[in-house]
Subunit: 371 residues, 2 copies
């Protein structure tokens, strides 16, 4: 194998595929990148047996071939080389030579035949969606993906496609994130995509206004993003019927500037920091009266905080407590300047949603106040 | 106590003094900031009994008083408040109220009488130096301060003042940093300043072209930087007679572009990374021949790297090995575009120094090569 390519192009490819090799695998081959040539194209592949990514780019291929090289070391060297043409050549002794101006690197390689190439899958159903829309949906839904491996189904996001709609939903026991976009489409399917896969997709999506294809086949999902193909296993099991847990009515509503409430929440929760426990453990209390939201927090040793926001309110007065972190995650994921927050009783979850449409919704469970 | 002040001013003060309270002290009062008024001035003080900093600024003082408040929580709240006037008031129950627009914070306080105020010291000898010169010296000298507490004297920097010269020298067993600036001055003294003190001074120095006063008294050093006063204990003991360890002759010299050798060293050392040990353990070899420096490194499993730099050389050919980290620390502290590196034998230290003058010098010990 012998190729000549521009640093820029190679880095773009490495950025797309390298995330997969960060898993704590014990198999050295899975920490590698498979580099393969095919006429005047080079394909880079990473695969941890649950998630695999391929990236193809055109390149000056002098000799065809394939090789596996350690992902971390190869990527770091390429990144630090001068901005110039790079020659990558496999020598007889299975040593990969990387040459660029006055720099020469020799790396040991692994056998490409031992590398698990991406499976060839028969796509059963597929849709197209703009990368901008998809990225916006993923950014919002990943905040409520659970990290608790004892309920594996909630470490993923439900993808629900029906005629003209695509939805992503995640839920971690304390909050729920729901996003919904319209698409032109003629098929229907449902699946649960692992959080790790969505995190990688989020990194890869260029937000350039290109169309992304999402296809499913049996227990796998495929994303085609420009010259990048992602194949991931799906999570098996029954996802929560999320519609039944979202309250349909509200007793109280506030209309608030997103940045204003984010800043107030960040400040008011400062006194809840416990130096001994290195965490914030005291809830933030919301007191809603006509035209006003008062946030307060009581910390240790008599430390207290209060923030007042003057805003539009509707419905009943209310006193309710929240973990500031869960609210902040949701509020920071909102891309509207102003939002609604709807409440039921002081033990019912609140709903954070846009004013103009129903493209997303965050549900956050309250904390029971002891007073 | 009741004061009104602009957020900006208060933050500038907090930035100057807050570093002291980061020490892992077990005394809560030493994690506090003493806030004292004096007519229309406010003084902020932190002190960990080894290093103390005072910062004075003018301010609208409504009621005189003094109080100690937790440094971390107070600073975080002030930093996050809106950019507006802040009212800080001590209430009857020893609660400090911080008010800014619609935000109100109440913090518990500590007894100001228990706080160790900075000692009043009788300055015996003092000099003045520009903040720009001093900062440049400190930045260079702190790289070779030792972290090894078993030889406490080397956890500091030697400050040596004689007529018209000020020098800072540090040494950690593997390398030495020496800086030298001319000043107008009529006194002579020597002392060893703790590394922590110099790190804080480095943060405080504004680089605005102001004069800084450095004074010593018995076992303490004082720095006056604008409206900031720093008092630190000195380290006791005999510093190494550094002049005797710096080689006076050279067998080989290279003249090299600083950024070029930094980049080459960073790259060439990449293959020395051992994933198992999460560190870089293989030395970088320097091969100097006429007009050329070749850097090589042999890592694990046959990984190798080579970088060639074409440059001016003088004297004998040489093969010598170094720990890349020690060289990089020194090279990154150089502020000249081109520098000399002088070598003796392959077991003698190399000297990194400017071409035009003798304002600084780094000495780095080589690593013995096994071949």
């Amino acid at each position: 194998m012998k190729i000549l390519c521009e640093k820029e192009k190679l880095i773009k490819g490495l950025n797309s595929i390298q995330g997969v090799t960060n898993s704590k695998t014990t198999l050295p081959i899975l920490q590698g990148i498979l580099i393969q040539t095919n006429n005047n194209e080079v394909k880079l592949t990473t695969n941890d047996n649950e998630l695999g990514i391929e990236y193809i780019f055109s390149c000056n291929v002098k000799e065809q071939g394939a090789i596996v090289v350690d992902s971390k070391m190869f990527s770091e060297i390429i990144r630090k080389l001068p901005d110039s043409e790079i020659k990558i050549e496999l020598k007889n002794n299975n040593i990969l030579e990387i040459e660029c101006l006055d720099s020469l690197y020799k790396l040991s390689t692994m056998n490409p035949e031992e590398f698990p190439e991406l499976p060839v899958i028969e796509i059963e159903k597929s849709i197209k969606i703009s990368d901008v829309k998809l990225k916006s949906m993923i950014k919002k839904s990943i905040i409520a993906i659970s990290l608790d491996e004892t309920k594996p189904i909630f470490t993923g996001c439900l993808l629900e496609v029906d005629k003209n709609n695509i939805k992503l939903v995640s839920i971690d026991g304390f909050r729920l994130a729901y996003t919904n976009e319209t698409i032109n489409n003629n098929t229907e399917f449902k699946c649960v995509i692992p959080g790790k896969t969505l995190n990688e997709i989020n990194k890869i999506l260029p937000e350039e206004g290109i169309d992304v294809t999402i296809g499913i086949a049996n227990n796998q999902v495929m994303f085609l993003i420009d010259n990048c193909k992602v194949i991931s296993r799906l999570l098996e099991g029954e996802f929560l019927n999320y519609e039944t847990v979202i309250p349909k009515t509200k007793d109280t509503r506030i209309k608030v500037k997103t940045q204003e409430i984010i800043k107030a929440l960040e400040r008011v929760s400062l006194v809840s920091f416990s130096i001994e426990e290195k965490s914030r453990k005291f809830p933030v209390k919301f007191a809603i009266t006509v035209g006003k939201l008062t946030l307060t927090c009581d910390g240790k040793n008599g430390n207290e905080s209060k923030e007042e926001l003057y805003l539009e309110t509707e419905g009943k007065d209310l006193n309710i407590g929240f973990n500031h972190k869960y609210l902040l995650d949701a509020l920071k994921a909102c891309d509207d300047e102003e939002i609604y927050i709807d409440y039921g009783s002081n033990i019912a979850p609140c709903l954070i949603k846009p004013i103009e449409n129903e493209s997303y919704l965050f549900m956050v469970l309250p904390v029971r106040l002891t007073e």
